[in-house]
Symmetry: C2
């Protein structure tokens, strides 16, 4: 427990490079020359800036200096564009040097790195993350927020190769995904995504509901308003890992797929 205080390393500003999504394809021609990656990348940026509700084929076209219909050369429709957006965003994990595909330092390290990686993409694209959570998964057993066969495979490999039985690995996968989803969804929505409607300027936007009938709430409001997400995340993750450790000890080395010991 490295006493994670002060400068949350998962928050975008705190990190130098890495873990972005879609810089560009070939930087050959200047403006024209569209590209699927370019379109999807622009959509990601647009959503990050204005929210999903504002994303429109015409507006996205405009941002790329092009008419709306041009986008249909690269994307079958708006719905599939959104799918491509979530895929692109989680694929940001592959570019993250702190996330490992294989458990080179044990399964706990693997899960830690993966969790923080996912948290990093969630915080980097707060407006996209709810999409990751709610878009129906291709297969029911591929769950958010890691909606990728490759990551699922990596996960299962990491755990089974660390001594988890098949059943324990599957159970761990379920617990892990729902932990990540719950925490990150709340954290992201707490950082007030884009304030949906345009808030009128001038005047304190405090609607400040009447808390007179809610004494505890009234008293605890400052405490509730504090952002403890980083510490929360760390603690819940720690707890989850312990729980999974128990799972490993209980029904672990029951003829695991590969070596039954540690990596």
């Amino acid at each position: 427990m490295p006493d994670t205080r002060e400068p949350d390393p998962d928050v975008p500003e705190e990190r130098s490079g890495a873990a972005d999504a879609m810089p560009a394809g070939p930087p050959s021609t200047g403006r024209p020359g569209l590209d699927r990656r370019l379109v999807v990348g622009a959509a990601v940026e647009f959503i990050d800036e204005h929210g999903i509700g504002e994303l429109t084929m015409r507006r996205l076209g405009a941002r790329l200096g092009v008419e709306a219909m041009a986008l249909y050369r690269y994307v079958p429709g708006r719905e599939q564009l959104l799918d491509a957006v979530v895929e692109a965003v989680i694929d940001g994990l592959y570019g993250d040097p702190d996330v490992l595909l294989r458990p080179d330092h044990g399964w706990q390290d693997y899960l830690q790195r993966l969790a923080h990686g996912v948290r990093r993409v969630a915080l980097a694209h707060p407006a996209v993350f709810p999409l990751i959570a709610t878009r129906p998964p291709a297969a029911p057993w591929v769950r958010p927020p890691l909606r990728s066969l490759r990551w699922l495979e990596s996960f299962l490999d990491a755990l089974t190769s660390s001594g988890f039985s098949d059943g324990a690995a599957v159970e761990a996968y379920r617990a892990y995904t729902s932990f990540l989803l719950g925490h990150l969804l709340l954290e992201v929505s707490q950082r007030g995504v884009p304030i949906t409607a345009e808030d009128e300027p001038g005047g304190s936007s405090e609607m400040s509901v009447d808390l007179r009938e809610y004494p505890h709430l009234d008293r605890l409001q400052p405490m509730l308003a504090q952002d403890e997400s980083a510490a929360e995340f760390e603690e819940a993750l720690e707890n989850l890992l312990e729980r999974l450790g128990g799972l490993l000890r209980a029904r672990g080395g029951r003829r695991a797929g590969r070596g039954s010991g540690k990596a």
Copy 2:
């Protein structure tokens, strides 16, 4: 641990009455005579049947035998209608006799009942639940899935009156909400909400991606496809309660708001 197997009591069919949302107002007049509750209730049903994407003012009007614009007498717009929908759905908790506003049998019982109550509404309205999760909360400290000041107050009261310190209660609230959100969102999305597009009839709808390159996945697919959500939920809830118990023992009776002992 009551060995919750076989007949999941939170799934709608397994329960007789209670915990529905919006039966009707005054059953006086027959067809005409709209009503805000009626409008919102119809919206809930509509979403449950066809999904949010299909909900349209005109269609909802049609279902009520009325033109779209008539709805605007009772609801300011589509967006606010959706807000009203989530409010109506979580208000279903108040009608649930198994959920208590006060911890009459200890805080663990209180949290258990509340969690199962929320799970029940999630399973009763699977298509509405993502809305509960993603709609921006009024205040940042009112979190999904309990988006209600009254429930938040009830929660805080239950814990502090059971010996939790203010800080511990707030921490518990955070852990509890993110646990609920993660588990229920995944469970609901797993029960394949409405299959978005109309799936073509005839022919096995198995798109069956190629799993040759994913050996673990290939091997574990049947296990992954099994629905273990009820047991999962129970176990994670149990674990959470233990964790909160530890929290209570560690920093519990530090001058709690009310009586520092048990209720």
